[in-house]
């Protein structure tokens, strides 16, 4: 047994055979081929298989990802690529895998040389397709096609890789790169599977099929776990499964409510269709935060209205009559998106306090209006849609945003309008905001950071990022008071996923909590055991506490 250390990125412990996602390393035979004619035929067949597979996946996925997959399918069926590779087989007796990679490289290099970032990015698509073809010829399963429950091991997983996986077969994730906030970590948490990221030397130490244990609580990866470790992993995995099953029986399918029947919507934070599917399986009652920017980070140009409305409509179809809260792009200098070049804007000394969220939208109204039109179009198809803007800092921002929604036809399509509360200034503007809007959603991570003027990325200031801090709790209470039931109040920050914190928020008047799929059952179950009056009393007490620890222990007492 060997033990590797990494960063604990998603809780739980599980084991299984490794499915190594090879980035660029397919085992390619070297020996000259003896029968070039049959090798050429085999290549043609392998290309067709890859093309058909990509098309099937494109059809199954829908949305923006299907476009990339469709384009890749066309590459796999490319007659010039085939002719070029077959020429190499005949003239140099190259094995098919090498031939196709060499022929493909010519196109990849030409694309890479383009002055357009978008074209250059397509070079990776060509290489990826050629790798799949070579893998098919070598008899290796396509890198990401899981056939049995597996631990997915990779250098780094790209969003497209993850979308490609049959998520029901993923037992756990382990990656060499990444941090707690990397894409793998977020996806793992939203699927409720364990993950360890940032493990040095991981990929070279693991072969396909090797037994691997992943402990997402301690951040450990076990290679070939010994019987004792295996027993420990299985026990914890079973305990967790039993616990989740228990929660599910107690709270899973019932609408979320307190013991005395106060409805609280428990929604999910998602960025993609697979995440939404996982969230719905965990009992999510809607989407409280769709992070729209995350689907398009691989783009050189802003996504079109059509493309976005396809994504929204796919989600709405899964949601049925449940609500979809679409947050418009939350990007800016500290959260760069390749499709919107913010470099040309002025230089920023404090990007977290700079041009981001709605501030950027006001400079690029066309990008916002494509999003709003797509949202309105989806709502017109009878979906329950809401839109909200990030980083609103005064009434003027909120009014402008509401006007844009109105101009897109939002009101008549029944689209609810809201803003995120993450800038402290708007906490004091609540009565007016509530009459302008249908709802507000509190982004606790940013609100806490801005309330305390403490950078949340700075580890040494983590103490100032506590959601149980008096200032944050009082801010939430004040927001609910100010909303005065004229607008509904939700929470979509990480704090909503903490059952104790969530109950305090409900006591203050919050009626929607949006979180990672993995926390939904836990919060639903906690709600069922308590009355609104108990939450109210605890909330009052917690808000008058002087230290976060006091407030936290008051919250914990609600869970007992």
């Amino acid at each position: 047994m060997k033990r590797l250390r990494g960063v604990a990125a998603s809780p739980g412990a599980r084991r299984g055979p490794a499915a190594v996602v090879a980035a660029g390393s397919v085992s390619l035979p070297d020996a000259p081929v003896e029968d070039p004619v049959s090798e050429a035929t085999a290549l043609e067949k392998a290309m067709e298989t890859v093309a058909t597979g990509l098309e099937a996946r494109a059809a199954a996925r829908g949305g923006e990802l299907s476009e990339i997959l469709e384009a890749q399918a066309a590459m796999a069926r490319d007659p010039e690529l085939l002719a070029g590779a077959q020429r190499l087989i005949k003239e140099r007796a190259l094995p098919g895998g090498r031939a196709v990679m060499e022929a493909g490289e010519e196109y990849a290099l030409a694309l890479e040389a383009s002055d357009s970032d978008y074209m250059a990015a397509r070079a990776q698509d060509v290489r990826d397709v050629c790798r799949r073809i070579a893998a098919g010829l070598a008899g290796e399963t396509s890198q990401l096609a899981l056939e049995a429950p597996s631990v997915v091991v990779a250098k780094e997983l790209m969003p497209a890789d993850v979308a490609d996986l049959d998520l029901h077969l993923v037992r756990a994730f382990a990656t060499e790169g990444g941090s707690r906030t990397s894409h793998t970590a977020i996806v793992a948490r939203s699927l409720g599977v364990p993950a360890v990221v940032g493990v040095d030397g991981l990929v070279s130490a693991i072969a396909n099929g090797m037994l691997v244990g992943v402990d997402g609580d301690s951040g450990t990866v076990y290679l070939d776990p010994n019987p004792k470790t295996t027993e420990m992993l299985d026990r914890r995995s079973a305990e967790r499964a039993a616990h989740i099953e228990e929660l599910r029986t107690m709270a899973g399918d019932e609408p979320a409510a307190t013991k005395d029947g106060t409805r609280v919507e428990i929604a999910a934070n998602v960025a993609s269709l697979p995440e939404l599917q996982a969230a719905l399986e965990s009992g999510a009652e809607g989407v409280g935060l769709l992070r729209t920017e995350l689907s398009f980070l691989d783009r050189a140009r802003p996504p079109s209205e059509q493309e976005q409305s396809r994504l929204f409509a796919d989600m709405a179809a899964l949601l049925g009559d449940r609500r979809l809260v679409i947050r418009t792009f939350d990007i800016g200098a500290d959260k760069p998106a390749p499709f919107l070049d913010t470099e040309e804007e002025e230089e920023e000394e404090n990007p977290a306090l700079g041009v981001r969220g709605i501030r950027l939208a006001r400079r690029h109204p066309d990008i916002l209006s494509a999003q709003l039109n797509a949202a309105v179009r989806t709502a017109g198809g009878r979906a329950r849609v809401a839109v909200m803007a990030p980083m609103v800092s005064n009434l003027e921002d909120a009014r402008w945003f509401a006007e844009q929604v109105e101009a897109a036809g939002g009101r008549s399509a029944g689209v609810e309008v809201g803003v995120m509360i993450e800038v402290p200034s708007v906490v004091f503007l609540m009565p007016e905001l509530a009459s302008l809007l249908d709802f507000v959603s509190i982004g606790t991570n940013d609100l806490t950071q801005y309330l305390h003027a403490a950078d949340r990325m700075q580890g040494s200031l983590a103490g100032l990022q506590d959601p149980f801090s008096s200032a944050l709790l009082r801010a939430v209470a004040r927001i609910c008071e100010g909303a005065d039931a004229k607008a509904w109040v939700g929470v979509c920050g990480e704090a909503a996923a903490d059952p104790g914190w969530a109950l305090l928020a409900v006591g203050m008047g919050v009626r929607e909590l949006s979180m990672d799929a993995g926390s939904i059952l836990e919060v639903k179950a906690a709600l069922r055991r308590i009355t609104l009056e108990e939450c109210r009393a605890a909330a009052e007490e917690a808000a008058s506490a002087h230290r976060p620890e006091e407030a936290r222990s008051i919250a914990l007492s609600l869970l007992r």
Partner: protein
């Protein structure tokens, strides 16, 4: 052999999906079809060759078809480019 000139008006150019759609459409004809931009030419049935040609909004390209169904090919492909 027939040829016709056309200007690309599609915002994103003949890239990725449009290139895939175009080459797929071209593949349905038996005629040999090439597109020419400046001095470079590409097999219209090859998505990668079309991509490599890097046709952008405003570029003028010539579609050349030669074979039994060349007339229909030119008509349909030029219409397709105009509607992308």
């Amino acid at each position: 052999m027939l040829e016709r000139e056309v200007t690309l008006t599609n915002e994103v150019g003949l890239h990725a999906r449009p290139a895939a759609v175009f080459s797929k459409a071209a593949g349905r004809f038996s005629a040999d079809i090439t597109i020419v931009k400046n001095d470079a030419e590409a097999n219209a049935k090859s998505m990668l060759s079309v991509l490599k040609l890097d046709v952008r909004k405003g570029d003028r390209i010539t579609v050349v078809a030669s074979g039994e169904d060349e007339g229909r090919a030119i008509d349909e492909l030029v219409t397709l480019i105009e509607s992308l």
